[in-house]
Amino acid sequence: MINLTIVTPDQKVFEGEVTEATFPGANGSFQVLKNHAALVSALGKGNVSYTTKEGKKSHVVEGGVVEVKDNKIVLLAERVIE
């Protein structure tokens, strides 16, 4: 399980355990699985999706950065459009 947090300056959009997460990187979409190496990536506009116990969820984000470290993912988005 990976711990995922999605925050914007206004609110916390999601926090919880996920098994995988896919992000719209600036140069194309990529997926993060368990034990991914430490990574910082700039994001473009696009779909963020992740799988929790309840199933798959997704948001559209605009601009931001994602940090992956020790099975913890923090996504800082400037804007999240549901």
């Binding site: 914007t8 300056p9 990536s41």
Partner: protein, 290 residues
């Protein structure tokens, strides 16, 4: 001695004023709590952002050209003055207006200054006087959101890049606590150097996508917008804090005034009764004398 009816009227009017100020204090307290919550909500975002930026910058040894940090001889200045939309909050607004006018006529004398007022009070003040203003954004305090603030920050940043401004300064009230606000004049652009906060911890060996340069160039504007947003939130919280304090004082003053007026009312009433009794007694005596 004042007339009984007049005093009674004054008591009523002071009492109803007190009711209003008390209600305003309650409203300001509730709004203040919400404004503080907003600041708390933003904190995880800004802390994480600073942390990532720090790590990335420290891992690349500082050699980097950032357009937003370019220092030029200052000719054109943009001053962002943050006030509130409404009054009745003590010296909150007048401090900002005074400081801004001071900046224009002293520090930036002879320079080409544009004022960008945020909040209706600043807009009205600077429109009435001989300032060059940009009044596109003054209504943000109706509903503070990152969306709106981002537009203003982007406007200032684009102006800086296009060389419309050589320096951008924020003037706002920093929220120290409910009773105290500090007037803050903060340089927004050119931004200060990206110095690492000197943490000795081993930097994590991050994979940076798509490239180090890209990540930094992408993060810097975000960090600036966050800084701007923070200033707006601080100002917003300060406004409600200032209003709460001044309304609390007003309520107290009204209570004191009421006490004095009631004393006067009772004295007047007593005097009226005494003179009435005197008249009756004198009348009775006169009758008996017959």
């Amino acid at each position: 001695m004042a007339n009984l009816k007049e005093v009674k009227q004054r008591i009523n009017s002071v009492a109803s004023t007190q009711q209003i100020t008390r209600a305003m204090k309650m409203v300001a307290a509730a709004k203040l709590r919400r404004a503080q919550e907003r600041i708390l909500k933003m904190r995880p975002y800004s802390q994480k952002l600073t942390a990532i930026l720090d790590e990335v910058v420290s891992s690349m040894g500082g050699e980097l050209e950032i357009a937003y940090a370019e220092k030029r001889p200052v000719q054109k200045v943009l001053i962002v003055a943050m006030t509130s939309d409404k009054g009745l909050c003590g010296a909150f607004n007048s401090n900002i207006l005074k400081t801004t006018s001071g900046l224009v006529s002293n520090e930036y004398k002879g320079k080409d200054v544009t004022v960008l007022p945020l909040g209706k009070k600043a807009f009205e003040f600077f429109t009435r006087r001989d300032f060059r203003i940009n009044g596109d954004f003054f209504e943000i305090f109706k509903d503070v959101s990152y969306e709106e603030v981002r537009k203003i920050a982007s406007f200032a940043m684009e102006g800086f890049i296009k060389r419309e401004f050589d320096e951008v300064v924020l003037v706002y009230n920093h929220f120290r606590n409910v009773a105290t606000q500090d007037i803050t004049v903060e340089q927004f652009l050119p931004m200060g150097s990206l110095n690492t906060s000197g943490t000795e911890a081993k930097p994590t060996d991050y994979i940076l996508e798509p490239s180090k340069e890209y990540v930094v160039q992408d993060l810097v504007p975000t960090a600036l917008k966050t800084q701007f947003y923070k200033a707006v939130l601080e100002s917003n919280a300060s406004e409600h804090g200032a209003r709460m304090t001044s309304m609390d004082k007003a309520t107290e003053n009204a209570a004191e005034l009421l006490k004095e007026l009631k004393l006067m009312y009772n004295r007047t009433r007593q005097a009226a009764i005494t003179s009435e009794i005197l008249e009756i007694v004198a009348g009775a005596n006169a009758l008996e004398g017959n």
